[in-house]
């Protein structure tokens, strides 16, 4: 460092820097930055504060410039594509020219802003919110709540007297069915970055008095498609998802549905649609009531009708079955009568048959008896006749045999006698007893007959012994031969 100092005027310095800068940065550069504050002027120019943040701390900051003509063109194109206005806090990709102006200093002159980059950034935020809610497991919490049978007490988060709110009121109030809703408005800003805090704040309030309400509506009236990206905000979406009452949204059109709408119990495009939905819910309660009334009326009457018919049928059955019962018994009696008639006649017939049969048998038997007795008699008579004849014949034969045998005998006897006589004549000559006696023999007689087998003697008999000269009578004392024989035996 020299002792002699060179002194420049500010202008010299500024000019020098200006020259240096213009030489150095001759072309335009694409710069990624966040608009901290847009600083839109009444003349239509913007002097946005551009910052670069690391861990929420600003580590670089520069001034930007958008000339009114440029801004008109850029912002229109941006809103058309991103569906959001260029606003504070946005991260943008912009084409800048680095300028140094001696009077205004260093600034980045914004020539163009790439809307597609912003679109991507918004999409990224939406995706991240979804991812976080999913990860935390609260994405569907609000939808899991039970929708009240009658969504009657309603907390509304909306901008006071906005067109959408008025539309909603006109649909729900003074309905022709006399449905009565209770509405309480909780005013909030529903557009842009401020909407997040505003809505979350009101939700917190409502939660304190949630027992007075059935559901919460978030109604954004007007504003078209622009400014809805706040509804992708994590804090807002989480507040909605975890709210203890069902939340319904009617925040307008969006080609890409926001996360808040996704996690809400139900989302409608317009407030009118929400109103219609609530009326429908009342209808859904009311219609069954009417049906029940009708049903009870008709069914009760028809039930009674059926019971009447049942009774009538029962009367018919009773009448019919009683008649049948009596007819059956009458028939049974008639059968018994017929049976008695038939059987009695048959029985008498049988008795007649028995008696007649006996009569016949008697007749027959008697005749048989007489006949058999006659036979007996005849037989006896025959035997008698035969017996007589036989007996006489027999006697005759006997007589004849006797006569014959006598005749024969006599003849034989006579013949024998003749022979005898002849023998005697012969023997007399030979053995003339007188001659025999002369020779000393004797003849012994008993009872005048010669002793023979036919004229035997026994002890004690008197026998006559003739000799030539004498006749001796002697008594038999002993039979020696017989005695000898006896002794032998």
């Amino acid at each position: 460092m020299s002792a002699e100092r060179q002194i420049f005027t500010l202008k010299q310095v500024a000019t020098s820097i200006q020259r240096l800068m213009s030489e150095r940065y001759q072309q335009n550069y694409w710069v990624q930055t966040e608009i901290h504050k847009l600083n839109y002027t009444t003349k239509g120019h913007c002097y946005p504060e551009l910052v670069h943040k690391e861990n929420s701390r600003i580590v670089a900051e520069m001034r930007g410039t958008i000339w009114a003509t440029t801004y008109d063109k850029i912002s229109k194109n941006f809103a058309e594509i991103v569906k959001e206005p260029i606003r504070d806090g946005m991260s943008l990709l912009m084409l800048v020219k680095i300028v140094f102006h001696p009077l205004y200093g260093m600034s980045l002159e914004i020539v163009d802003i790439d809307p597609t980059y912003s679109l991507g950034e918004l999409q990224k935020e939406r995706d991240e919110t979804l991812k976080r809610l999913t990860k935390e497991g609260i994405l569907n919490n609000n939808q899991k709540l039970i929708f009240p049978l009658l969504p009657k007490r309603i907390a509304i988060i909306s901008m006071d007297s906005s067109k959408g709110l008025l539309d909603f009121y006109s649909v729900t109030q003074n309905n022709p069915w006399n449905y009565n809703f209770f509405f309480m408005l909780f005013s909030a800003n529903l557009n842009g970055d401020v909407a997040v805090n505003s809505i979350v704040n009101q939700l917190n309030r409502i939660e304190k008095v949630k027992h007075h309400f059935d559901i919460v509506l978030i109604i954004r009236g007007g504003g078209g498609e622009i400014g809805l990206s706040c509804y992708n905000n994590y804090l807002l979406a989480k507040a909605i998802a975890t709210f203890p009452l069902p939340i319904m949204t009617g925040i307008g059109h969006s080609t890409n549905i926001t996360v808040s709408e996704m996690v809400a119990f139900r989302s409608a495009i317009t407030p009118t649609e929400l109103g219609d939905f609530l009326i429908q819910a009342f209808h859904e309660f009311s219609v069954p009531l009417d049906n029940a009334k009708k049903s009870i009326s008709t069914k009760s009457i028809s039930l009674l009708e059926i019971k009447r018919k049942e009774l009538k049928n029962e009367i018919r059955f009773l009448s019919k079955s009683s008649s049948l019962f009596l007819i059956e018994h009458k028939n049974s009696l008639k059968n018994k009568l017929l049976l008695i008639q038939h059987k009695t006649i048959q029985s008498i017939q049988n008795f007649y048959l028995q008696t007649n049969k006996l009569n016949f048998v008697l007749n027959h038997g008697v005749k048989n008896v007489v006949l058999s007795k006659k036979n007996d008699l005849d037989k006896v008579k025959e035997k008698l006749e035969y017996g007589f004849l036989e007996s006489i014949n027999q006697n005759r034969q006997k007589e004849k045999i006797l006569a014959d045998s006598m005749h024969n005998l006599i003849l034989k006897l006579l013949e024998k006698d003749k022979n005898h006589l002849k023998l005697i004549e012969n023997s007399i000559r030979l053995i003339d007893p007188a001659e025999v006696l002369k020779r000393g023999y004797s003849i012994t007689l008993k009872d005048g007959k010669l002793i023979s087998e036919k004229n035997p003697v026994k002890i004690g008999d008197i026998i006559e012994t003739q000799t030539k000269d004498i006749i001796i009578n002697s008594k038999i004392l002993e039979d020696l031969r017989s005695a000898a024989a006896e002794r032998k035996t």
Binding site: K367, V370, D376, L377, V380, K383, G387, F388, I392, Q394
Partner: protein, 65 residues
């Protein structure tokens, strides 16, 4: 008729038997035959009268029928 058919018939049968077995002598024969004839007559008459009676009764029975 007092004569008993049964007794008459039995006597008759006995006579027939005596004759058959030859137990009868010629001396008795004609007497016995006379008796038998008389018994036969008795039996026949009894049978006849009985038959008539019975037929009469049976006829009356038949008429009733």
């Amino acid at each position: 008729m007092e004569t008993n058919y049964k007794e008459a018939f039995e006597e008759l049968q006995q006579i027939v038997e005596e004759i058959e077995t030859g137990e009868i002598s010629v001396d008795e024969l004609s007497l016995k035959v006379k008796r038998a004839a008389s018994l036969l007559k008795i039996c026949k008459e009894k049978l006849s009268s009985t038959e008539e009676d019975v037929n009469q009764i049976l006829k009356e029975l038949g008429d009733n029928d």
